[in-house]
Amino acid sequence: MDENTSTQVEGPRDPREGLEAVVALRRMLEALEAAQVENAVMEGWSWARIAEVLGVSKQAVHKKHAKRIRDRYPGEPPRRKGKGT
């Protein structure tokens, strides 16, 4: 750990900083989920399998990500091993 910051390990100093970290984290989480779902689809995972690991319904994960992923690969259907919807 950096010597200079070791005295501040208890966390953000003021509430605004803490709350802003939550906002930043939420925005990053969305991007991270999108990236990981896309990676899984490109690896040939079915929506059902992705949904199961994420702990949500297959419909929910499909509704949230399918169109975006299709749009990112125009004319090139993501390579799929399973038959999942």
Binding site: A24, R26, M28, A34, A35, N39, R68
Partner: protein, 169 residues
Amino acid sequence: MKLIRSTDKSRRCVEAAFEEARMLGHDSLGDEDLLLGVLRTDEGIGAEALSSLGVTLKDAREMSEEMLSDALSSIGISLEEIRRESGDAFDMRIPYNQRIPFSPRAKEVLVRARKEMRRLGDNYLGTEHVLLGIVLNKDGTAVRILVSMGVSPETLEDRLYHLRGRAAG
């Protein structure tokens, strides 16, 4: 009350603000996005004032991104590392099927902008009113971006009135 009307001169800057928000991954439209919107549309007294003070779209965007990255660092998360780990698919942009709402702060800016318009006896809502609405919220993110670029709310306000005076004279 409608926040923005089709006849408003600043309508395009609000549309541009939504595009900026979408691009930067802001899941609600912040007051800083309104600032970026004025810079992106580059029209009216508002844009002229910012440009005369050396505020550019590129710098303001970078500052907004830096603030997000700093906020994550404060809780021990490296955005760069996550970006690297996730590869190409990592994209902060908000997809087009997701609606971006006005944040309470952005709403307040536009309500104040309209009040400023009336106070000044203007019959159009221009980019200068939007910026006056922005600088009135000293606690806002837009003001922090401006200050970090060396422009105080007072300086911007003075410049706006100066340019208005010139336009009227």
